[in-house]
């Protein structure tokens, strides 16, 4: 304790003397809970960006960045709120990389971050509710909203010349949120959704559900479910009874299991899942391997990007004060300016210090749209001869 006090005192002295400081960033992720297996790779992704910036010595006259982790649990909003409270009040962090899941993120943003004027950048909360939330300009995310996926999916369906669809979704927040956003987007574009009904996972038989969908009719069936769960059961029953021949698969369904389960029976069906393409991802993966973790883990690249964005915004505004740098996040994330890939944070800082503009691309091709979330790149797939083929990105 004594040592810590001494170190803090010394740090304070140093900061006062040189203008450089030790910036603490909070990392609030669900280290325990239903997504605990994903959290470590996300933490390491974020810390890799912090280390890169610290090592460059270019952030605000050589400031260094350290991470302080907290457990958001993913499902317990009260625990997440307490964690973020601790990070801000006790640890004095200058920004929060988190939270992980949508519900928990909403709670800590509304209860703590807004009250303290703290910036939060979430790598993985996808709920459409976070788009419309009143956030005082403090909340950003490097993950796309499911509203965006609904929109993209509606475009893809339209481009296939299909104008009436039936929708079935898995009976939870993900399924309902995505199905509703798709239905809204599709109807806005002039399509017709004949029915939008739920199915429960883990049943032996989906013929009753499919009978209902078939009675409503449609040229294709949109299956917002899980490929290892009821989603495949619905497709099976629909194929067996001849109710539908064309299916639309969002991210929860796109997997190699589809090929194994149905082969050429679903030829002509199509779908999409989020996937950043391009050089940024490759670079990030090899950097992660070098640093000793698996960068292909879900949302690891998004976590790197979230931390990097926060630090670049600090450099841009010349301050680690959230109230000041929150205005620069969108600025560094988007054009105009030099494109910045992972591993080029030092270069970005040099440009910023020289008064130039940067356009952060990062590991996941970041492009922030109002009100501060990733526009999201989706991979469009199609089934041909029993194989899943990538037909493009949008």
């Amino acid at each position: 304790m004594k040592k810590l006090l001494l170190a803090t005192a010394a740090g304070a002295l140093l900061a006062g003397a040189a203008g450089a400081e030790e910036i603490k960033l909070g990392v609030s992720l669900g280290f325990t809970g239903p997504l605990e297996s994903m959290a470590p790779a996300m933490q390491q992704g974020a810390e890799m960006a912090m280390k890169e910036v610290s090592d460059s010595g270019l952030l605000m006259d050589g400031s260094t960045v350290v991470s302080v982790t907290g457990d958001s649990t993913c499902i317990d909003a009260a625990a997440a709120t307490a964690t973020v409270e601790r990070l801000i009040a006790a640890e004095g962090v200058k920004g929060i990389m988190g939270g992980m899941c949508s519900g928990e993120t909403i709670a800590s943003l509304e209860n703590v971050a807004k009250a303290n004027g703290m910036v939060m950048i979430s790598p993985s909360a996808t709920s459409p509710a976070l788009t419309t939330i009143e956030d005082d300009g403090l909340f950003f995310r490097t993950a796309p909203s499911d509203a965006r996926q609904g929109d993209v999916m509606a475009d893809i369906v339209m481009d296939h010349g299909i104008e009436t669809v039936a929708v079935t979704y898995t009976n939870n927040d993900y399924g309902k949120g995505l199905a509703d956003s798709f239905a809204n987007a599709f109807e806005e574009k002039g399509g017709t959704v004949t029915v939008n009904s739920a199915h429960d996972d883990g049943k032996g038989d989906y013929s009753a559900e499919v009978a209902a969908l078939a009675a409503a009719g449609g040229d294709a069936l949109v299956v917002v479910g899980y490929v290892d769960q009821g989603g495949s059961g619905v497709v099976r029953a629909a194929l067996d009874t001849g109710a539908f021949e064309t299916f639309v698969f969002p991210d929860g369904m796109v997997g190699s299991a589809l090929e194994e389960n149905f082969g050429s029976e679903i030829d002509g069906s199509f779908g999409q899942n989020p996937a950043a393409d391009g050089p940024g991802r490759e670079t990030f993966l090899s950097m992660a391997t070098e640093a000793g973790f698996d960068g292909s883990g879900a949302f690891s690249g998004e976590a790197y990007d979230a931390a990097a964005l926060m630090l670049l915004a600090m450099a841009k505004s010349g301050s680690s004060d959230p109230a000041t740098y929150k205005g620069s996040v969108m600025d560094v994330a988007n054009a105009p300016g030099e494109e910045i890939l992972p591993g080029e944070l030092a270069k970005a800082l040099e440009i910023i210090n020289g008064g130039g503009d940067v356009d952060y691309v990062g590991a996941t091709a970041v492009e922030l749209i109002e009100p501060g979330e990733s526009s999201g790149t989706y991979r469009e797939i199609e089934f041909k001869d029993g194989k899943m083929e990538i037909v493009g990105y949008r």
């Binding site: 009904s197 199915h199 009753a208 209902a212 009675a215 009719g217 001849g242």
Partner: protein
Amino acid sequence: MDFLNALVVFLNFVFIPAAAYGAQLALGALGVTLVYGILRFSNFAHGDTMAFGTAVVILVTWGLQAMGISLGPLPTALLALPFGIAATAMLVLLTDKAVYKFYRVKKAAPIILVMASVGVMFVMNGLTRLLIGVSEYRFDDGERFIINVRDFREWSGLPEGLALRSTQALTLVVAVIVVIALFYFLNRTKSGKAMRAYSDNEDLALLSGIDPERVVRMTWIIAASLATIAGTLYGLDKSFKAFNYFQILMPIFAAAIVGGLGNPLGAIAGGFLVAFSEVAVTYPWVKIVGYIAPWYEPSGLMQLLGTEYKFAVSFVILIVVLLFRPTGLFRGKSA
């Protein structure tokens, strides 16, 4: 033409699925009703007996497939059925010796046996999961369809398709064979008559020289066979997942009670009644009505209940029957 279309839709989405499901429920209800009629308690472990039997059948099926043995167009599981029945019969006989016999000798009240069977249910539950796991398995092989949607459309020229899966047809055929065999056994053979005598009056049966232990043993073996056959057919038609067998216990009991507990004929009628009600009540009739009465344009789907409430249907039937005709449609024994 429109009438034909309506008929095809009805067959495809209502009649065929409900008939196959009804046959599965009827076989399950027969086992429940037999145990009730002769051993005089509601066997709550019946659903998990079905699961256990099916699990053994699946394991043997995999073994046969690995050896390259198959039945051609029929599912290999049919070959594995005798093994499953034997293993399940052994298990229920052991259970009878270890659990039920103790209470039977003490002439315990039926409710005590029912509670004991709930305990047995949980043990079998675990046993099945240890044996095969909790995941979902599909073990049907051979021809999938007798009538295929695409072929039917080409053949008939109708816009609506009709599918008849081989497992659905198989379920009905096997169910008919099993029911005929069971009724022949109960009505024409000496052992069957002994069982019915024991069911009617235990003491009188004892006086006329019927060995009660033998009757009990036979009852269990038949119940185990029915459970394994019903479980395997259900698994072939849909898919095997241990938990689903726990869930169909409710419709099975509803079927047995609606038909009249202890009455085999009632169990069959009850099975089909429950199945057809479940499907008919949750089916949206808009398409069929659209074909028959095109001038009438309903705004909704014409669905009485959402498909989520499927299981509720059997409970409603159960309550109505218990309120107005407690002994069931076919006058079974009332508890």
